[in-house]
Subunit: 122 residues, 2 copies
DNA sequence: TGCTCAGTTGAGCAACCGTGCAACTATAAG
DNA sequence: CTTATAGTTGCACGGTTGCTCAACTGAGCA
């Protein structure tokens, strides 16, 4: 048999066609799900989560955040760039200082929903 | 000056002490924020997001999911393990077949909230 | 103009992560 | 028993990522 060597490339025949068809019909398109993964990827790092939590309700400059988290300004700035690109924080320049804050209410909602989920596991 | 070589270890003195103190008081403890990051880390991969979306409302076996996503059973199984460990999906064995489904309503809520956020950016 | 400080950026490196491969377990059927 | 199939797992490898370091920008001030 000249089947491809990968014995794993689903050659199984007992697929539940009805369920799979139903799912295929209701599944969001792949691009939307990739965007969703990219969004949550930004939340999936403890430094970024702590930054988001820090600027949730208060405006802080890079130095403030660096001191608060005990990290270098460079590291914070790198992460702030990702957060900006993802549209999760806004920067407002005042002289030499840039103040950061949450971009919108959704971000607060996502932080909150995750914490609620974790607290209800106990 | 025998300052440490890292010119970056926040030596700045214009920290906004009031704001930083306020934030430090209301910030969730570090462990909770790490757990939160670990939770969202699991959502931060397109394969896992597609699996979650697939089993959101339907029970599917590993073969079904592999066929649906056009991936190997091994890859799916690896990801399902992470999803199980994170408490996001449940597996129910029926003979040789293991059916997977979402673990609880929260997971659906998190998927949904993210999609709503993305859709409202346009 | 020149100095200082807040912040940004690119290169590089170590650690992490997703997947393929192959060997394995578990259940069913002959 | 043997065989077949659904699923799991450890290892290895290539790609990604978070941080440090050093150089840079830009605003304020003398």
């Amino acid at each position: 048999m000249d089947r491809e060597t990968a014995n794993d490339r689903c050659d199984c025949d007992v697929i539940h066609e009805e369920a799979v068809g139903r799912v295929r019909a209701r599944l969001p398109d792949e691009e939307a799900l990739c965007d969703l993964a990219d969004l949550y990827k930004v939340f999936g790092d403890s430094t970024r989560i702590r930054i988001l939590s820090a600027v949730d309700g208060d405006e802080l400059c890079v130095c403030d955040i660096a001191a608060l988290l005990g990290m270098s300004k460079s590291a914070i700035s790198h992460q702030l760039r990702l957060l900006r690109q993802a549209g999760l924080v806004r920067g407002r320049r005042d002289g030499k200082i840039v103040f950061y804050s949450l971009a919108d209410e959704h971000v607060h909602g996502i932080l909150d929903l995750g914490l609620v989920h974790l607290s209800e596991l106990r």
